[in-house]
């Protein structure tokens, strides 16, 4: 652990040493994850965390203390040991595959973490597509803007209770943004999202047909992280697949609204 910084809403930004990590030529993609556990730990399996950023010799993760293993992680101090895997899974499409924009990075709660990584990479491109981050939470406490420090793009916030930014969900906010673009521009938009499953499902229902593509980063309890244990599966058009190796990022139309799709392996 190089640095443990508490964020405004109680999550922590953990910077962990990884000698292979490079800022200008990242060895990981936004949407990929690593599995982390304090070392030593009271616990058995490492917890998957989406990569928030990669720098020279380190990676950062946004960790919300929601259970005993994450509480153990956020209690670590600089110099403590962390058991961390290399980057795992398939991330969001490369920046070059996002078209000319507009690109919407929609983060619900701590699902905003990979949006930081993507925004930081887009900021570094000579011809970056126009992008906006839409960051939603239930209350202003869930919207920890300091996790997006240093990002150049515009950040719009939403809260369910109206305590910060747009009054509504980030799904509503995204729909409003697309309305403002007009149908033709909206049809060229790409939306990347990470957040609670229900929120991403709702986003798929609200915008998937209006935009060029919607990609969602799914979350599930994991053990092995490499497709062995079959613990973290998602139903896709190709059957039940491990999220850790086939995802966590999927095109939304391959994982949502699959009624009538046969159950096969």
């Amino acid at each position: 652990m190089i640095e443990n910084r508490r964020l405004s809403g109680g999550s922590h930004l953990l910077r962990v040493r990884d000698e292979h990590a490079r800022r200008d030529t990242p060895q990981s993609q936004p949407g990929q994850f690593a599995q982390l556990l304090a070392h030593p730990s009271q616990h058995l399996v490492r917890r998957p965390m989406s990569i928030h950023d990669e720098g020279d010799g380190w990676r950062s993760f946004m960790v919300k203390p929601v259970g005993p293993a994450t509480r153990e992680l956020v209690a670590l101090r600089a110099g403590d040991s962390v058991d961390m895997t290399p980057p795992l899974g398939k991330g969001f499409p490369a920046p070059g595959e996002l078209g000319e924009g507009p690109v919407f990075l929609v983060g619900g709660g701590f699902g905003v973490a990979p949006m930081h990584f993507m925004a930081r990479i887009l900021d570094g491109l000579p011809q970056a597509p126009e992008y906006r981050i839409l960051y939603g939470g239930r209350t202003r406490n869930d919207v920890e803007l300091d996790v997006l420090a240093g990002v150049n793009g515009e950040v719009l916030t939403s809260t369910d209770d109206g305590s910060l930014g747009f009054h509504g969900t980030c799904v509503d906010l995204c729909a409003t943004q697309l309305d403002a673009l007009g149908a033709a521009r909206a049809a060229r938009a790409v939306v990347l999202t990470c957040g609670p499953h229900a929120m991403m499902h709702a986003l798929h229902g609200a915008v998937a047909r209006r935009v060029h593509a919607l990609y969602a980063s799914l979350e599930e309890v994991m053990a092995c992280g490499v497709g062995v244990c079959m613990g973290c599966v998602a139903k896709t058009r190709d059957g039940w697949v491990p999220i850790c190796t086939h995802g966590p990022v999927f095109r939304s139309d391959t994982v949502f609204d699959l009624e009538g799709t046969a159950d096969h392996v």
Partner: protein, 321 residues
């Protein structure tokens, strides 16, 4: 096959293995998924993900929940089915130098007949594990194999069709007395018994106010179950003449040594591999050091004398010097 991994070879029925350290079913995929960190050729055998007569999609998510020193799973035998296994998964493992110990599960005797007949022609498969103890399926799981008569029948059905392969029967601990099942497997012609499968268990999601897993029942694995597995292995080893393959919560070399002392012929590493890919090497080094320090040739010499329980109900044995 490197020299360092050919150490303490063992025999189970007609099959021999270069070392007594196997990967447990469900924790090593079909054998190559972990190849970068754990080359399958370093293991005595890879007990593969259980295959069934037809592909299975498995259970709904969530499928996993960590507990103190344990892991609950409700995977439900998600697998590609025996046909796709033999077509796509077997050869790559063999080509990599791995030894496939193929795990099978079925719901009926007829299905076991068909699966055994499909496996019989494959010379590259030296051994088959019959999974009679999965708590996460409706048919063919631990409840259907909780009776000695059923275990004997399933065992005989498979072994008669696979006379040239080692047939090991994996038993459920979710019964009153696992020893009866072990004796039934021996009676049915098994070359070994494997103990134990996961302990049936559950959890409740406080926020949702309902059982965590849709089927309620799940299987508990990990270090939490090691002392349970140790007792079962001890009891079974005292009661049968065939080899006992010990599995359940191995987290360090010391656990493996205890299984050998309890009477195990071989051991399977499982859940802890998910977080510690060094486990195999740690076990190998720890067992070697312990055995050499005592001037022994093979960890089987560690086996304690299993004296039947005395009138006072106390087991007795002669400690190793």
């Amino acid at each position: 096959m490197s020299e360092s991994t050919r150490e303490f070879p063992i025999r189970i029925g007609p099959a021999s293995f270069q070392n007594p350290y196997f990967a447990a079913s469900g924790c090593f995929g079909y054998g190559l998924e972990y190849a970068e960190s754990i080359p399958p050729q370093e293991l005595g055998a890879v007990v593969t993900k259980t295959v069934t007569p037809l592909p299975r999609a498995g259970n709904p998510v969530p499928r996993l929940q960590e507990t103190p020193a344990g892991l609950l799973n409700s995977i439900g035998l998600q697998n590609v089915g025996i046909e796709a296994y033999l077509r796509d998964k077997l050869e790559p493992l063999v080509a990599a130098g791995g030894v496939p110990f193929v795990s099978i599960s079925a719901a009926t005797l007829d299905e076991y007949v068909r699966m055994a007949e499909m496996l019989a022609p494959y010379d590259s498969i030296p051994a088959v594990e019959v999974n009679l103890g999965c708590p996460n399926v409706d048919a063919g799981g631990d409840r259907d194999a909780a009776e000695a008569r059923a275990v004997e029948q399933f065992t005989r059905t498979v072994k008669e069709r696979l006379p040239d392969k080692a047939v090991a029967i994996k038993l459920t601990p979710n019964v009153t007395d696992i020893v009866l099942l072990a004796r039934a497997a021996e009676q049915g012609g098994a070359d070994a018994v494997v103990a134990i499968n996961t302990l049936a268990a559950m959890d409740i999601d406080l926020v949702r106010g309902r059982p965590t897993f849709e089927r309620v029942r799940a299987g508990l694995s990990g270090p939490a179950i090691f002392p349970v597995a140790l007792l079962k292995v001890w009891e079974i080893a005292a009661a049968v003449r065939i080899p006992v393959v010990a599995v359940g919560g191995i987290a360090q070399a010391e656990d493996v040594l205890k299984f050998f002392m309890a009477g195990a012929t071989a051991v399977q590493l499982g859940t802890v591999l998910f977080s510690n890919p060094e486990l195999l090497r740690q076990v190998r080094a720890g067992v070697r050091e312990f055995v050499q320090a005592r001037g022994l040739q093979h960890p089987h010499e560690l086996c304690l004398d299993h004296v039947p329980e005395s009138a006072e109900g106390r087991a007795q044995w002669t400690p190793i010097g």
